[in-house]
Symmetry: C2
Subunit: 207 residues, 2 copies
DNA sequence: TGTACATCAGTGAACGCGCGTTCACTGATGTAC
DNA sequence: TGTACATCAGTGAACGCGCGTTCACTGATGTAC
């Protein structure tokens, strides 16, 4: 039953990617080793051939989720039309949609793992912190570029990036929290934060 | 061993309050029925004399956490000095402190239960949604009052409230996620969102 | 008001179940000669 | 290049443990007469 090194490495990565999705959907403590391995197409005994512990896997899964999110972010910013400002606007608008809200397993790890990470061991938290720092710095660079284009200087871009990321993550997390129980409120939360980035989405008429 | 109705009701409330703290700290799935009852000073068997299920308890605990948070919010807004704007500013600044960050069990349920609520049954999510709606409407009323004082009209106060709550919750949740692994980043997240509400906290000098 | 009995909050043992982890085993791959 | 053996990814049973929930029991409270 021994596999080639290449196949073993591919299987290992497949387990990490599966965990990355499942953990975002159900939370780290909501994913059992047996569950995970079954979902990945294996029996659970082989888990410890790849990982020292569930915690070690969780840290790798968290890192993998951020890798995916970052490459998505870079791609979105790279192909933006009409200047860097437009690209960021488009990214933020797409982030704050019901589609993203309803897809935690494929969506933003900052939002899906936020509360979890604070309760996990430092190994997981470190992966989260590295990913968050990377996202913030990409946002800051983009905002600085945008401000330079607008001849406004790059002052405080990092602080601006922090606040923007906080609002995006907060809105997504709150929208998810009430999505089933109060869909109208959930949609309202998303659109409130989305509107400032949209030229086609005017504020609802005053009652 | 039968207790008076009053004592039984007090014990029940004590269990709910204990659960409210523990769930915010460890997450709903992180609190066992036996754990909880022991922490409250009872043996675990009696749990089902008070609650139909752990889920029912979780919903009551979530509701109780929001009750406490709301009364804290009302109190803070009621005793604000220098107009309603100052009171809200003070509340937001205190919300975004390391002290609050490091006290999830006594702190904001929106932040502590956000990701959890999205994964829980509708009973819990409904309690969360009710609480969130109440917080947002208190914020909106306060912002409307503040804008009226500044003769700016009350336009879009609710939308403004939504965005503010999203940013506050996002910042707190992100700050907690990286508090151990990257304390400097954690503090930076809080101060970025806190500064606009503070007159005494100027932006750090440009590098 | 006094007595007899039903109620029910709390106790602690027990239930089946799934958890993370360990283990002996299999057999194709990788390596030493 | 060919043979002999060590390696190790995957299997599936088993481990101790804690989970949510149920149960028979206790005895003071609440109630009916």
């Amino acid at each position: 039953m021994r596999l080639s090194k290449e196949q073993a490495a591919r299987n290992r990565q497949h387990i990490i990617d599966t965990a990355s999705r499942l953990c975002r959907e159900r939370g780290i403590d909501g994913v059992g080793v047996a569950d995970l391995m079954k979902e990945a197409g294996f029996t659970h005994g082989g888990f410890y051939n790849h990982f020292a512990s569930k915690e070690a896997l969780a840290a790798e899964a968290c890192g993998a989720a951020f890798e995916g999110a970052l490459s998505g972010l870079m791609e979105a910013l790279g192909q933006g039309r009409g200047g860097s400002g437009a690209a960021l606007s488009q990214y933020v608008q797409q982030y704050l949609t019901p589609t993203h809200r309803d897809d935690p397993s494929g969506g933003c790890p900052m939002a899906a793992l936020a509360v979890d990470a604070g309760r996990q061991a430092e190994e997981v938290q470190a992966a989260y912190a590295t990913g968050l720092e990377a996202v913030v710095s990409v946002f800051a660079r983009q905002l600085a570029q945008q401000k330079a284009e607008a001849k406004g200087g790059d002052a405080a871009s990092r602080e601006h990036a922090m606040r923007l990321v906080s609002e995006m993550v907060g809105a997504l997390v709150l929208a998810r929290a009430v999505a089933d129980a109060n869909p109208a409120l959930s949609e309202e939360i998303l659109s409130a934060s989305r509107r400032p980035f949209s030229k086609q989405e005017p504020r609802a008429r005053k009652g």
